[in-house]
Symmetry: C2
Subunit: 144 residues, 2 copies
């Protein structure tokens, strides 16, 4: 409850700053993503919301998530299964994907010292951001 109120205020503030309209759908989608710590696909965001908002349409969820991402409110997860996935605002991090169960785990990896910026500069490349995905087996799938 309190957390929800915090998220509500947070969203209102951000919407105001960005100059975007607040609608019940947008608020619900924002809240759903804010309270989850996984990496839901569009369908996975849509399904629980539909329970409490029966009129909600997939098209709106698709549009809204894309819209939020353009505004920098959320981030797109590097595609690991040919579905669009999102996660809330977080610091840059890597993802570990279990090849067996598909679980996606956030990973703190500071590999910036290993990026040879000089080599990239010498090739005229201007790096802006990166995506690192590590594949393997998670703890559950290793032991079973």
């Amino acid at each position: 409850m309190e957390a929800d109120r915090g998220v509500l205020k947070e969203f209102e503030e951000k919407a105001r700053v960005l100059g975007i309209k607040i609608t019940p759908q947008r608020l619900a989608i924002y809240q759903e993503l804010a309270r989850r710590y996984d990496h839901p696909s569009v369908e996975e965001v849509f399904a629980p919301l539909r329970e409490i908002m029966p009129g909600l349409s997939m098209a709106t969820v698709y549009r809204t998530l894309r819209f939020f991402e353009e505004k920098g409110l959320i981030q797109r997860v590097p595609s690991v299964d040919d579905k669009v996935r999102y996660e809330g605002e977080k610091a840059p991090h890597a993802h570990f994907v279990c090849e067996k169960c598909g679980r996606i785990i956030d990973l703190e990896v500071d590999f910036s010292p290993c990026l040879d910026l000089k080599v990239m500069e010498s090739r005229g490349l201007s790096p802006k951001r990166w995506e690192l995905v590590i594949y393997g087996l998670c703890s559950k799938c290793t032991s079973s």
Copy 2:
């Protein structure tokens, strides 16, 4: 010519070892990928081959590339534009993707010392392989 003959022998040898059938389509697809140094989509593999092999079907190209990948003959490129892309056999490397023109550039990045294996082990994760994609602007797009 000589190079082609080399690739032909190479493919025959590998097919023999793997126990897979050699067909004109498979040979053509293998050669096409072997002589390119980019990261073609299925369509981009198909188009030039169709010129010299009019009966060739997209379905075959899809199936064959997937088959080659399963056999370890080629590699799938981390999806950067929601299309399946492949590249020939190469040592592990990263990819630089130009956000403006979409060009994909191979990058030698040895960041293994930066992967904190102990942290992953302590979490019960067993890493097998990784994909690193760096986004930014390429030399052409930086200067224009």
